[in-house]
């Protein structure tokens, strides 16, 4: 009995120690990678880049999930030695993260709110960095008969009239805000209707739910192109000027949050707005299609 208990105690102690050592090793490795990154982890970065600091970028699911930031950020890191840590949320959540001072720089798409928050002094140095458009996607059978309709508001009216399933982000994201504005223009309050599914998730999830439930949804073109080979949804409506989708980049105001890395945030903004950055955005393709167009889209 006694020897048994000793063995088990030793085992327990060993397990605890092993876990502690494993973690300590991990920590020291991480600390070491502050000055010299491992080749294995940053395998997208050619050569050895000395990482001197990090900034946190709060952004939307649409810029991250399609791979744009995985394409741009390593090039920024290579130039400056600053690693960009990406938190991808809905635009509403990203604005909140920035306003709380939990991020240094933002890349979001709700121009009206962005300009208002800049005016209020929450954010600073905002630029129109790129644009694309929203599209309405739905099942190929097109039960609402949206095909051939010119405006999104009209399409939304048809969907509501036919009580066809519409899947909403429901997460206060830029896309969600755009969608709610369209319902408002159509004079319809979809909240609580049987055919209106508000799921509170990212764009990819929402497309997947729309796909599975044979419903319509509003999406940014980028996310749809990035995942369209894994869903059966087709474009039901595109080209309505009301569906214009402008992205903005801006820094958290250091006067509000003195701890933010404002100088590095500025470097990042300068990188995106430079000729090189704008050309890179222009050259980015997924499944053979361009997802974002540089600069400001409306004349």
């Amino acid at each position: 009995m006694l020897s048994n208990s000793k063995i088990f105690f030793k085992l327990l102690l060993f397990l605890l120690l092993a876990a502690a050592l494993l973690f300590a090793a991990g920590c020291s490795r991480e600390a070491a990678s502050d000055s010299e990154p491992e080749n294995g982890v940053d395998d997208e970065t050619p050569g050895v880049v000395k990482i001197t600091d990090r900034i946190i970028l709060a952004t939307t699911t649409s810029t991250y999930d399609c791979g744009l930031l995985d394409f741009l950020n390593p090039l920024f890191t290579e130039k400056t030695g600053i690693e960009v840590q990406v938190i991808s949320q809905g635009t509403g959540a990203a604005l909140e993260t920035g306003a709380r001072g939990d991020a240094d720089v933002l890349l979001v798409h709700d121009r009206k709110s962005e300009l208002k928050l800049v005016e209020e002094g929450t954010f600073i140095d905002r630029y129109d960095v790129m644009y694309n458009d929203f599209i309405v996607v739905g099942p190929a059978e097109d039960p609402a008969g949206v095909d051939g309709v010119a405006s999104a508001v009209e399409a939304f009216n048809l969907i509501a009239a036919g009580e066809d399933i519409f899947v909403s982000r429901g997460d206060d994201s830029g896309t969600n805000r755009m969608e709610l504005r369209l319902w408002e223009s159509a004079g319809i309050d979809p909240e609580g209707q049987d055919w209106y599914l508000s799921i509170g998730q990212g764009m990819g999830d929402t497309l997947r739910v729309a796909d599975e439930s044979m419903g319509y949804t509003l999406t940014d073109r980028g996310t749809y192109i990035a995942i369209f080979d894994s869903v059966e949804l087709v474009i039901a409506l595109e080209g309505d000027p009301a569906l214009f989708n402008q992205y903005g980049v801006m820094a958290v105001n250091p006067k509000e949050h003195p701890h933010v890395k404002y100088n590095y945030a500025l470097l990042y903004i300068e990188f995106l707005m430079s000729d090189e950055g704008q050309n890179l955005i222009n050259s980015f393709q997924v499944n053979g299609e361009r997802l974002f167009f540089p600069g400001y889209g409306l004349k």
Binding site: M1, S5, L22, D65, Q85, I87, S88, R100, G204, H259
Partner: protein, 232 residues
Amino acid sequence: MSRLFEGIIEAFRLIITLNPALLQIVSLSLRVSGMAVVIAALIGIPLGALLGLKPEKKTRLLNKIIFTFMGMPPVVAGLIIYLILSRQGPLGVLGLLYTPTAMIIAQVFLASPIVIGLTMIGIRARGCDVEEMARSLGAGSVLIAWTVIMESRFAILGAIITGFSRVVAEVGAVMIVGGNIAGHTRVMTTAIVLETRKGNFELAIGLGLILLIISFIINSGLYSIQKGGKNG
């Protein structure tokens, strides 16, 4: 159906070829949850032993509170730690949000009540007899506590393992406080959420398989320990 099948094949390929991105994610998961459980054990075993040796009547309210916290939804734990660690929260100056440390704190918060509760139950089951016997043999209080813990070692080990399997499988807390940053705070469960959203089912299934394998190993260990406990 074919997608699931293809996913599983691709998943095995990723595992067998030791894909660096996959390894990095798995290793961070094990480190964060491992560290969280070590801390939870250091907090939970002494507290659980203390409570387990008190008569049940005296700790009734405390028991109820601990049992409630044992069932704490991970997202609630995540939300609480997020609000504490956010720059506008009470510990915001530490700048810990979106770091592995924040994830460990959240998981300690989840695992500690489990270790406390299960240790307490285990010790209550046989602790009092052991305590009396040790006392009658003239042992001091430290020695008594030690003897009691040793006699309940199977229950305690079970408590630790249960705590680990809970935190390594949770997604809600680490997503909120870690932010799922690639190469920095991305663990198995948050990576599965992301890759599913992006339609990369191969990596998602691969990580899911690894989680299942880890769970199998842990539960096999737990099973044999408990069997050993009954025999001993």
